[in-house]
């Protein structure tokens, strides 16, 4: 596996065929990429995790940060396999302790991503994990949170990329590793 895409790996096609596209969700015109069907296939789910673990296991990653909520499905298995801590990045008011937050733009208005103070240390090498990258707004907020506490974001890892939305360009220069592209 080399570079930011892993398109040569034969496991990719098996994963891609398991992703279900749901038209007009959450609203008309959006072709929603549903990964729950990947999770229903133990081999496809395992392959997804293995591909990321193989990529990151020798990169001295100390933190895997997962974005609520689908990042919580992929992040912890990766963290466990590579010996890293797992940090959930959550919507407002879910985390019980002291938090820092980063705002990001939605189509209409803003939202916030929160992280526990003290979860990540200066010098930690971090991965950010989510199921999908669209505009990159949430991932950018995640990168900001990690950098503010002095961590180094090594890479962002997503199962699916929607390249037409150019999210890759919003990652503050950080590389993106994705498994499957979806073009409309």
């Amino acid at each position: 596996m080399s570079g930011n895409k892993v398109e040569e790996d034969p496991r990719i096609n098996g994963i891609k065929t398991k992703i279900r596209v749901v038209p007009d969700f959450p609203k008309k015109g959006i072709m929603f990429q549903d990964i729950t069907t990947v999770l229903l296939d133990p081999k496809a789910f395992k392959d997804t995790i293995d591909l990321f673990v193989e990529r990151y296991r020798d990169k001295n990653i100390s933190v895997v940060a997962g974005i609520e909520a689908r990042g919580f499905i992929f992040g912890p298995p990766i963290a466990l396999a590579i010996g890293a801590k797992f940090v959930p990045l959550r919507k407002p008011k879910k985390l019980p302790g002291e938090t820092i937050f980063e705002e990001y733009e939605l189509e209409y208005g803003n939202d916030r991503l929160e992280m526990h103070v003290g979860a990540v240390d200066a010098g930690d090498r971090a991965l950010v994990v989510d199921d999908l990258i669209a505009t990159g707004g949430t991932l950018c907020a995640a990168i900001n949170l990690l950098e503010r506490v002095g961590a180094e974001v090594v890479e962002c890892a997503c199962v699916i990329e929607l390249p037409e939305l150019k999210g890759r360009q919003r990652l503050k220069g950080k590389p993106l590793c994705m498994l499957v592209e979806y073009r409309c």
């Binding site: 549903d34 229903l40 789910f45 909520a69 890293a84 801590k85 940090v87 019980p96 302790g97």
Partner: protein, 191 residues
């Protein structure tokens, strides 16, 4: 039933897991000693112990489905599913799952909420484990059990990292066994 009463008495892993859980007083409101498992996730060894204990218990029980309750059930369920070769099914708050869903209502302290599952995710006669970080009243788990049974699946057990005192001595939830690793920490600080 608690793990310590069920074969794991004195297991040092249980102490490590308990010690890694942080108590946050008065969250989300006054009087509640919130059991914060995010600190467990920061302790790689203790997190791995948590998963290993569940995997050891379920790997020979022919479990084909691990269902996790949003959102903290998502942090534990998938790793267990992967290790035992089962599917993972997310049980979610309303409006999050994109396909056709079935839903079950459950009571909150004030009002109700709903838990949803994709139609077709679980098949009749599948053997299911339902996982969440913590069980308090058991309302959410009961709703999850109902969802599974409505599809003809068999809930073998409900599994939680933490069990509040209300469930101690209660081995069954809606007729289903309940397996819990640890009791809450810091309750002696309650006035």
């Amino acid at each position: 039933m608690f793990a310590a009463e069920n074969g794991l008495k004195g297991d040092p892993r249980l102490e490590a897991i308990s010690a890694a859980i942080r108590v946050v007083p008065n969250f989300p409101k006054k009087g509640i000693m919130f059991q914060d498992i995010t600190t467990l996730l920061l302790d790689h060894k203790a997190f791995k112990h948590t998963i290993d204990i569940f995997v050891d218990r379920y790997k020979d029980m022919h479990i084909s489905v691990v269902a996790g309750v949003e959102a903290r059930g998502f942090m534990f369920g998938p790793s267990i599913a992967l290790a035992i070769g089962a599917k993972f099914i997310p049980l979610r708050k309303p409006g999050k799952l994109p396909g056709k869903v079935i839903s079950e209502s459950y009571e909150l302290e004030y009002g109700h909420d709903r838990l949803e599952m994709h139609v077709g995710a679980v098949e009749p006669r599948e053997r299911v484990i339902i996982i969440d970080d913590l069980v308090a009243t058991g309302g959410t788990l009961s709703a999850a059990i109902s969802l599974m049974e409505s599809q003809g699946a068999e809930v073998v057990e409900c599994a939680c990292v933490i069990g509040l005192p209300e469930v101690k001595g209660q081995h069954k939830l809606k007729g289903k066994p309940l397996y819990v690793l640890v009791e809450p920490s810091g309750l002696d600080e309650l006035c």
